[in-house]
Structures are given as C-alpha cells and as structure tokens.
C-alpha cells in the first residue's frame, strides 16, 4: 500500500453528500456532570472517595472564601485595598478544583480564585498584599503559584510551556491554568491550546464559566454553546461539570488530572455564576437583572453543600458559627500581618528587573533617592495625590 493509501484511512471515508461531510455543533447543550442536586440529594455510589475530615475541610475552604470576599470588599470600600475581584458564587468551583490537585502541581491563576491559591499553599497575608498592589506578593515559587494573569490570556501559553518542561523532565506534576469564560476569546488562549495539544503538554485548562466577562454574557463572548467543546478542534478533551457542586468539581478535576498527567491536555469547564460584581469597580445592575441573580442565589454552592452534609449526616458534627469565626480570625491575622509588612523603599521599584542592575538604572535610583532627600515635599504628591 502506498503512503497515501495508508493516510486515507485517517482521512475518513469519502462521501458524495455534503451533509455527511459537514461538522457542526451539537444541537443540544452537553450535560453537566453533577453528583449532588440543588436540594443536597445524591447517589451514594457516585460520591468521590473523601473522608469525613476531608469533607469538613472542603466546607471550611468554602466558608473562608465567603469571608474573604465579604471582608476584601469592605476593605476596598474603606480605601484599605485596591480593586478586588470577588469569587462569591464560585466557592465550590474554586476550592473543589484546587483540592483535587496534587502537591507537586503548579497553579497558573487569573485572579478571582482566592481559596484555590490558599489551598495551593499561598499565605492569606500575601493575597491581601497582592490586592494592595505590592509586588512581593508574587514571590510564590515555593507554593507553586505563578502571578495572576491580569492581562487576560497571557498565562496560557506560558503555563503550557511550563508544563512542557514538566513532561520533558518526566515529572508527574501538571499545571492547572485557571481562567474565565472570556479567556478563550483571546488569541493567546487559542494558540496555547493548540500548542499544548501538539506537544502533549500536561496542562489542565480549568475554566470557571461564571456567565459573564465583565458585562459580556457568555452568548456575547462566543457563538459556541460551551467552553468544553473548544478543545475539540485542537485535539483536547473537554469535561463539563456543575461548578456549584463541589463534589462533582472535585471528581471531574481528579479524573481530568489523571488524563492530563498522561500527556493529554484537557479542558474542564466548571459552569457556575458570579453573584457579586466583576470587581469592586463594576456595577452589574447595568447588564443583568435581579431576577437572574436571585435564581442563581437559589443554587448557591455553599448552601447546597450544607444540604448535602445534612443528608450525609455530617452536619451535626460541624459548628457553623465556629467555622465562620475561625475564618474571620484567620482574616484578622492576615490583615494584621499585611499591615505590618514592610514593602521596602523606592529601591523595590528598581530591583529584580535584571539579574544585575544596569548602570543606568542604578543612576536613576540614586538620582531619585537624592531627589527625595532634597525635596521631601514630593511625598505630599506621592502620598496625597487624589487617586482616580
């Protein structure tokens, strides 16, 4: 057989019908993997293998996420924090994914997933510092966390390259690329996804589809029905999961992780809803109505998990108030540590750009330090300039 004939098997059978040669979207939106329903009912056989302690721990992470969101927004309103992106409504999606990963795995975040970062090992103090605009917060190598991808899509090819390194090293680690449903619209996402597929990168594309990208609804973001299907054209598998069901998220990511670690990059689309504003700068009333938000409040993941814990018989073991108090204390301590953090002087701005500071940069630093000595009134402009 000639080479061409060999290949023809791969090309698919020839057909004289255009219809048979036409590929299109599935007519129905694919299902969402779910274990626990809105009322907390579940099939015991479908439960992932988690101990009671682990279930309680998952609950604690979700409560911590709630506490962080409420308190960060308050601090922002008081001028003690920069712009903040709340994760309310996505507690299950964030914590469930991070919890399913292994210690050796790396996380490439995009900014909204507070508890995912903390589960990975990043201190809460550093999360506060990040949102206060302190670069030191990005020193998370030890915790295997890359700085958040504030410029959307930028972390995707980078994370793919990082995971490529893992596979070249025969490491059994993977990278998880957290992102939103807006990210796949960027060129970098699509290029990164295709590249991952060609090099068999151990990269897990974890999409939190929270319905909106700032004001753009998912329908305005793409003509596709799902994010999960985006991988198909590039040769990636996709899983859709109910992002408000923490056990389903955990199970789906665990399964996907297995697949990914064998060199099969995979998209997990966690379908959820952002209950708060996009960030503290956003006014969601301009683009969505209260009725829609109320509907999703009903499906809110923390209360769903509480219902499950009741059905499962573990709720009596949990002192909700104590869990919340503990989370608040944890936040108090982190805030105290962030307040006390010495973020250094002006040299911080000049350090780290190069391995060795070039002479010109040293000159700029010295001249600036001298200027600040000579003109202490400059601090009036620096500290008290009206902020946008």
């Amino acid at each position: 057989m000639s080479q061409l004939d060999d290949q023809s098997l791969e090309l698919g059978a020839p057909s004289g019908s255009i219809a048979e040669c036409t590929l299109s979207e599935p007519e129905k939106t694919p299902q969402r993997y779910r274990i626990v329903d809105d009322e907390g009912n579940y099939d015991p056989d479908a439960l992932p293998p988690l101990s009671n302690e682990e279930l309680k721990e998952l609950y604690r992470w979700m409560v911590l996420q709630q506490v962080i969101d409420v308190r960060m927004v308050k601090l922002q309103r008081r001028g003690e924090m920069g712009t903040y992106a709340s994760g309310r409504g996505q507690e299950a999606s964030m914590a469930g994914c991070a919890y399913a990963l292994e210690d050796q795995d790396w996380l490439f975040p995009y900014g909204r997933e507070a508890t995912a970062l903390l589960i990975q090992g990043m201190p809460l103090r550093d999360l506060l510092l990040y949102w206060r605009g302190v670069e030191d917060a990005n020193k998370q190598r030890k915790n295997k966390v890359f700085p958040p991808a504030i410029a959307i899509g930028t972390h995707i090819p980078v994370g793919v390259g990082f995971s490529w390194g893992m596979s070249l090293d025969n490491s059994d680690a993977i990278t998880t690329l957290y992102h939103g449903d807006g990210h796949p619209s960027t060129g970098e996402y699509q290029a990164g996804m295709n590249f991952a597929s060609v090099i068999d990168a151990p990269a897990l594309f974890y999409c939190q589809n929270n319905g909106y990208s700032i004001s753009a609804s998912f329908e305005q973001q793409t003509g596709a029905k799902t994010v999960a299907q985006k991988g198909i054209a590039y040769g990636l598998d996709g899983i859709r999961v109910d992002g408000n069901d923490i056990l389903a998220v955990y199970d789906a990511v665990r399964t996907a992780r297995e697949h990914v670690s064998k060199g099969n990059p995979t998209i997990v689309e966690s379908v959820s809803y952002r209950l708060d504003a996009h960030t503290t700068n956003d006014d969601p009333s301009l683009y969505r109505d209260d009725e829609e938000v109320a509907q999703w409040e009903e499906k809110e993941p923390v209360s769903r998990f509480e219902s499950f814990l009741k059905e499962f018989g573990l709720w009596d073991d949990i002192d909700e108030e104590a869990v919340r108090e503990e989370a608040n204390e944890q936040f108090d301590q982190a805030k105290e540590a962030a307040d006390a953090y010495d973020s250094g002087g002006v040299e911080e701005m000049f350090k780290y750009l190069y391995d060795e500071m070039p002479a010109e940069l040293e000159r700029q630093l010295e001249a600036f330090e001298q200027f600040l000595e000579e003109r202490p009134d400059a601090y009036d402009h620096i500290e008290h300039r009206p902020k946008g």
Binding site: G82, T83, G111, R132, G133, V134, E135, I150, A151, I152, G153, T154, G182, H183, S185, T186, G187, E188, S213, I214, S215, A216, Q220, Q221, T222, N281, D282, D283, L286, Y287, S343, V346, E348, M349, F350, L353, E360, L361, R363, Q364, L365, A367, F368, F371, E374, R375, D377, A378, H381, I382, E383, R385, P386, K387, G388
Partner: protein, 329 residues
C-alpha cells in the same frame, strides 16, 4: 457645555455618530455599560446595536477587524479597555493598519481610530497603566495622538475620526475626571499634528503631553515665581506626526528646554524630541536639554505607582537643572 475629559470623549463620539452613519463604535463592554470609564455611555441607546457593539475579549480581532471594516468603507472607532492591552493589537497595527495605503499604492486605506485610556495614577491593577506611546510612534504610518484637555479631546477625536489614515488615540485616564472645561456643543475640530503653546515665555521651553500636562504647567508656574524667569510650555498633543516647527521656534527663542513624560526614560519620546532639537536648533541651545520621565522599569502596581509618576517637584527640579546650566541628567 462644561465637560470633563471623558465627557468630551463621549460628546465627540456622539457628534461623530450623529453626523456620519458609517461611524461604528465597538470594544469590550462599550455598549451595555458604556465602557469601564463610561466613555461610550448612552451611545447604544441612541444609535442602536448595529453601530455600538460589545465584543469578545480579543484585542487582536478588535484591531484587525477595524482595519477590514475601514478598508470596506466604514469608520470604526474601537476601544481598547486599557493601554496595557494594546500590545496584542501591535501586530495588526504594524503589519496591517499602518501600511494598507502604502502596500496597495494608495488604492485602499484604513481610516480607523483606536482609543485607549493610558497611564498610571488611578489605582488600577497591574498591566493597566502602561505609557508606551514612543513604541507606537515608531511605527511608520500610524498616527499617535494624546490630548490633555477636554476641549482638545473633543476636537482632536473628531479630527481623528475624519482622518483618512489610522490613528491611535491615547486618553490620559488620570485626567478623565480631574477638571472641567467649557467646550462647544457643536461640532468642531482641532487639527492633528499641531502642538499647542499653553503658555508663552522667554527663558525656557517645557514640553509635555497628556497625563503629565497639568503637573508640568503647575511646575512651570512655581519656577516662574521662585526664580523670576518666564517659561514657555508646549503641549505636544500629537506624538506622530510631530509638530517640529513649534518646538524648534520655541527653543530658538528660549535657548533651553525640558521634556516631561510619563513613559520610561530610555528610548522614550523625549529622546526623539531632544534629537530633533539637536538637529535643528543645536546652535541656539545654552544648556543640554533635560528630561523628566518615568523610570526604566515597568509601571509598578498601586503600592508604589505614585513613586514612579513624575510629580511637580520632580518637574521643578528638572526645569531648575536646565536653568542652572548643570550638564548631565
């Protein structure tokens, strides 16, 4: 009307759309909410979904489709949400927008405007505050415009939309709401490529644009009082094309100059201006031309961004150095 700079943007867009039904406004979040700075507020209600569009997050396609739309015969005015997200458009600006006319020997053109808020000082997140106008000005065929007052903003945006070639229109977001100014209600234009002399003087020329303009004017006035000298202050307004004449004439008169900008120092646009002055007015110079700029580092996150930005004391010291004839920087 009495308008802020961002209201002037809005007014210009409204005026342009009302006067020409081929003007199409689009970008991320521009339609439903009026954009994150509300620059496009109300336009969708007035002009409808077809002419005011929310796009997916794809700066590549926002810029690239503007080239195509413009070539076809529309007048796209696309918004890039923050200057830090212009880089993905760079390929389309360099490889397509700026050279369509040249490549097709004048047969096709891309009369498009890309608007973006630029600069630091509003406590935005990282990657939101870049001032890389010098990089964009380095692209032949791409016009780069930066107004600093509400009046210029409306007039220059209207000029940009009428302009037969592509314009990158950078808006100093730090000044979006920092002051108001009386601007005409009706349509008017302020030509591109012409600097404005904000203040006439005899002893030193101070050149700036965009976000650093008010601080530069304030510093110049402080120096006048302190030193009893008179300063001439030029607002460049267009980075490309550059109004060399106004600069050279001024320097010939004053013999001294300082350039103030927010972008990093090395390779910044001040360097181009100083080279221009050297080429055409060296013999009139009585002192080296100084520059007061950002530093050669990425603009820091909000914890330290105010240290990075040139402020009036820094500008004052720069002017004094030039006045005092101390060489070097």
């Amino acid at each position: 009307m009495n308008a802020t700079l961002v209201e002037a943007v809005n007014d210009a867009l409204q005026t342009a759309m009302a006067g020409n039904d081929r003007v199409v406004v689009y970008g991320e979040d521009v339609a439903e909410t009026g954009g994150v700075f509300r620059a496009t507020q109300g336009l969708k209600d007035e002009f409808g979904d077809d002419r005011v569009l929310d796009t997916p997050i794809t700066e590549i396609a926002i810029a690239g489709s503007a080239v195509g739309l413009a070539m076809y015969g529309y007048r796209p005015v696309a918004e890039i949400q923050f200057s830090g997200f212009i880089p993905p458009t760079f390929n389309q600006l360099v490889s397509m927008a700026s050279r369509i006319r040249w490549r097709t020997r004048g047969e096709m053109t891309a009369p498009m405007v890309i608007r973006a808020p630029y600069g630091g000082g509003v406590r935005a997140l990282e990657h939101h505050s870049e001032s890389l106008e010098a990089a964009y000005a380095h692209v032949p065929g791409l016009q780069v415009v930066i107004p600093s007052t509400p009046h210029d903003t409306k007039g220059m945006l209207l000029s940009a939309i009428e302009e037969p070639d592509p314009v990158l229109f950078l808006e100093p977001k730090r000044l979006y709401r920092s002051f108001r100014e009386e601007i005409p209600d009706e349509e008017y234009t302020v030509p591109l490529g012409e600097a404005a002399v904000r203040k006439e003087g005899e002893d030193i020329t101070v050149i700036s644009w965009g976000s650093t303009m008010p601080d530069t004017l304030a510093a110049a006035e402080t120096i006048e009082e302190e030193r009893g000298v008179s300063t001439e202050v030029i607002d460049l307004r267009s980075i490309s094309p550059l109004d060399k004449e106004t600069i050279i004439e001024s320097v010939k008169k004053t013999g001294k100059a300082v350039v103030v900008h927010e972008g990093p120092k090395s390779g910044g646009f001040a360097a181009e201006l100083i080279a221009t002055i050297n080429e055409d007015a060296l013999m009139h110079l009585e002192a080296p031309v100084h520059r007061v700029t950002g530093f050669d580092v990425p603009i820091p996150m909000l914890g330290m961004e105010d240290y990075y930005l040139p402020n009036p004391p820094r500008i004052e010291e720069g002017i004094k150095r030039a006045l005092d004839l101390e060489g070097g920087v």
